[in-house]
Structure formats: structure tokens, C-alpha cells
């Protein structure tokens, strides 16, 4: 319905409220106002000019008056834009502050705990407690990273740096990380590599985040016991990676929303309360920014298979 969209565009009050600006600071309203004043001024000038065609100074005065008004309104428009630009700048600064100030103590805790875990003479109980701290610390770091990534996506500066990456190694490392969790939940984790997989050019951290999200979802949304199968294969000039689970599945009505920001399916909320609903949104953005595709097929109660394909660039 395009006419509905145009009407929505014309609703300045709503448009301006979206950016928390008053009408007099809102560029879209002020520009239309300038347009209206210009049109009516031209009509007025024409009317007066036909009546007083022997007194050009009156016409000149009107033109000067109208131009002054337009200049004043233009000034307000620029101010409005400045306010928007300032808000954008503040957002970028905020992201930087969060990224540095919040992640610094989190990383320092992470590294210190790792040193402590390696110390000799720890009792079973002490080790257990350190591992709990480590886990919570990791959760918080992941959360901050997710929020930062979303913020960067919104600002259009994801900062991906492609380099030669071995997907096989990335997946093998991640499986190693997830084995303890999988074992504790009676889940088997396997990797099947169909044929020779060449290195691909992609941001190494970005792709790690994507695969981690897929494995994490697969492992977490298996109710009791089950299996997660990861397959890696070359299909002509793309590499395809599939992560298949026999978990709770995604209800059909949620299929369209699964890659949306902050979306979490109702049925997974029943099993798992952890999570921000950002992982798949970030994954899709990373894969698409790298020239690839990501999608899934799923049946509620039977399981889900997520897959992505990345082109092999020569």
C-alpha cells in the first residue's frame, strides 16, 4: 500500500516525535513549511504585482520580507539537523565508552580467573567456584559484545576485516569449547566434512561469532538428550555449513521473525531463559555483509537445521 506509506511520511507530528524533536526543530516539518510559504508568497506577489504594477517597490518589499522569513526558517532547519547529528555523535561516543569501560574490567576478570584456575593446590570446591565466576563473566562479556555489535550494525560500521580463514579449524575449536556443556546435557556433538574445504576470505572473529551462535542455539534448545550434527561441504563455488539439531524446533508462526532483532520464540522461552535474541540478527548481518546467505528449516518438536553459504573468492 504505497499511498498509506506516503500519508505516513506526511504525518510530521509522528515523524518528529520519533526523534524526540519539537515541530520547530524538526527538519521535515520545516521544509514543507518553507515550501508552503514560498508557494503562497509567489501567488501573493503575483496578485499584488498585477494590482500595483506601477509601484515595483511594494513588490520588492514583499519579496524581501518573504525571503527574510524563509532565511529564518532555514536557520531553524540547520539547527534541527545539527541536533540530529549531535545525537548520532553522542551515540557513537556512548558505544565507545561502553566498549572500553565495561569490557576492560570484564576482560581483566576473565584473564585473572584463568590464571587462578591454573594455580596448583586448589581444592575441588575452589575450582568449582572459580568456574562459576568464569561462566558468569563470559555471559556478561557475550552480552556486552552482542549489544555493541547491534549498535555498530545500526551505525553501519560493523568493521569486518576479511582474512584467510579455515572454517574447519574454527568449528573444531568451537566444538572443543562446547563439549563439556554438551556432555553434561547428554548431547553428542559431531562434525562431518564432506570434501576438501579451501580457506575462505572472511572476518575471522565475525564468522566465529556466527558459528558459535548456531552451535549454542542447537545445544541449548535440545530438551533432554540429543545430537547436534555439523556438516561442512563445498558446493561448486560456495562453502556450505549446516548445524542440525533434534531439539524443540521453531513454531511455524515464528519462522518469519527468527532473524529479527531481540526476537525470541515463545517455545524456547519455556526451556531457556538465557539469551538476548540478538545472536541470529548479528549472524545474518555478518553473513550477508560477507556476501553469503543464511537460512534454516525447522519443525516444531522435531528439530532445526540452520545453514549458511559463503562464496569462495579466488
Amino acid at each position: 500500500m504505497p499511498h498509506k506509506k506516503i500519508l505516513e511520511q506526511l504525518n510530521f507530528v509522528k515523524q518528529c516525535r520519533k526523534y524526540h524533536l519539537s515541530l520547530w526543530q524538526c527538519p521535515s516539518f520545516l521544509i514543507v513549511l518553507i515550501g508552503l510559504i514560498t508557494i503562497s508568497a509567489m501567488l501573493g506577489t503575483w496578485l499584488i504585482a498585477t494590482k500595483y504594477n506601477n509601484q515595483p517597490e511594494i513588490v520588492a518589499l514583499i519579496v524581501i520580507g518573504v525571503t527574510t522569513i524563509l532565511t529564518i526558517i532555514s536557520y531553524f532547519i540547520i539547527q534541527g539537523f545539527e541536533k540530529l547529528a549531535e545525537a548520532n555523535q553522542l551515540k557513537s561516543e556512548f558505544v565507545n565508552i561502553v566498549s572500553h569501560q565495561l569490557r576492560t574490567p570484564l576482560t581483566s576478570i576473565k584473564w585473572t580467573i584463568n590464571l587462578m584456575i591454573k594455580m596448583e593446590g586448589l581444592t575441588e570446591e575452589q575450582l568449582e567456584k572459580l568456574k562459576t565466576i568464569k561462566k558468569s563473566n563470559q555471559r556478561m562479556t557475550d552480552l556486552v559484545n552482542d549489544l555493541l555489535n547491534v549498535s555498530r550494525i545500526e551505525q553501519g560500521e560493523l568493521g569486518l576485516r576479511p582474512e584467510k580463514v579455515s572454517l574447519k579449524e574454527v568449528i573444531q575449536d568451537l566444538i572443543k569449547d562446547y563439549l563439556p556443556l554438551a556432555k553434561a546435557s547428554n548431547i553428542s556433538l559431531s562434525l562431518e566434512i564432506k570434501n576438501d574445504i579451501p580457506l575462505i576470505s572472511i572476518d575471522s572473529h565475525g564468522i566465529k561469532v556466527v558459528i558459535q551462535n548456531l552451535i549454542d542455539n542447537a545445544v541449548r534448545y535440545i530438551k533432554n538428550q540429543g545430537q547436534v550434527k555439523i556438516a561442512l561441504k563445498r558446493k561448486r563455488n560456495v562453502i556450505r555449513c549446516e548445524v542440525q539439531d533434534n531439539g524443540v524446533g521453531i513454531p511455524l508462526k515464528d519462522h518469519g521473525k527468527i532473524f529479527k532483532k531481540f526476537f525470541r520464540s515463545r517455545n524456547i522461552m519455556k526451556y531457556q531463559t538465557e539469551g538476548t535474541g540478538l545472536g541470529l540478527f548479528i549472524s545474518k548481518t555478518v553473513i550477508e555483509a560477507s556476501g553469503g546467505k543464511i537460512d534454516f528449516k525447522s519443525q516444531e518438536g522435531k528439530g532445526t537445521t540452520f545453514w549458511f553459504e559463503i562464496p569462495i573468492k579466488q
Binding site: V95, N96, S99, H100, R103, T104, P105, L106, T107, S108, K110, W111, T112, N114, L115, T141, V144, N145, L148, R152, E157, L158, G159, L160, R161, H205
Partner: protein, 120 residues
């Protein structure tokens, strides 16, 4: 024994990194700000420098620029080890001559040490 200079203003980090590096058989020097860092770099000629970007007074970019401009220190590889992470920062650091850019929150200490060993 290879010497590594760490320029990092957060004491807890400094401790964790230095302890770990020493366990891995490196000798470490550390500085809490850029000025001292530069002086130590000239004095000890370390085999590698780990540099944070947000530092008091002189920020990491300036320190990096001075390291790379000075004949005595310009060949020392510099790894940026920071939590500042924006596309522009990475580009800027690499164009100023940093060898690698690592975001602390994304790496374990073991991985950082592996990168160091790969470079030396």
C-alpha cells in the same frame, strides 16, 4: 630470553598479562602510560610491544606513531591490545604501522601469547 614491553594503564591487566607472559618464558617490562612506555622502548629495545590505545595523557595512537617514527624503535613489532573496537580505529592503527590488532574481550591470554610466539 625475549623481552616484551607492555604499555597498559589498567594495573590489573598489567599484572595478569605480565604474570602469564613470564610463565611462558618471556621477560617483561611494563609502563602505565605512553611517556614511560616510549622511554622504556628506547632504553630496552624489546622484541615486541603490546600497546593499549586508551592511555592517560598521550594516547596509544600517538605512542604508536612515535615508536614508528624513531629510528631506534621503528622495527619493533607492535601488537595493539585494546578494548577499543571500531573499524576506523583498526584502520588507523594498522596504517600507523601496528602489526596486529587484538580486541581483549575476544581473546584468551593463551591466544594472545600464541600470536606473540607466531610473530617472534
Amino acid at each position: 630470553m625475549k623481552t616484551i614491553l607492555l604499555i597498559e594503564d589498567e594495573p590489573s591487566f598489567q599484572k595478569a598479562v605480565c604474570q602469564f607472559l613470564e610463565k611462558e618464558g618471556f621477560q617483561t617490562k611494563s609502563a602505565l602510560n605512553g611517556q614511560i612506555g616510549l622511554a622504556l622502548a628506547k632504553k630496552f629495545k624489546p622484541d615486541l610491544i603490546l600497546l593499549d590505545l586508551i592511555l592517560p595523557q598521550k594516547d596509544g595512537f600517538e605512542v604508536l606513531k612515535e615508536i614508528k617514527e624513531d629510528e631506534a624503535t621503528k622495527d619493533i613489532p607492535v601488537i595493539i591490545l585494546t578494548n577499543l573496537e571500531g573499524g576506523a580505529d583498526v584502520e588507523k592503527a594498522l596504517s600507523l604501522g601496528a602489526t596486529t590488532y587484538l580486541v581483549k574481550a575476544n581473546y584468551e591470554l593463551e591466544e594472545v601469547v600464541k600470536k606473540i610466539k607466531d610473530l617472534l
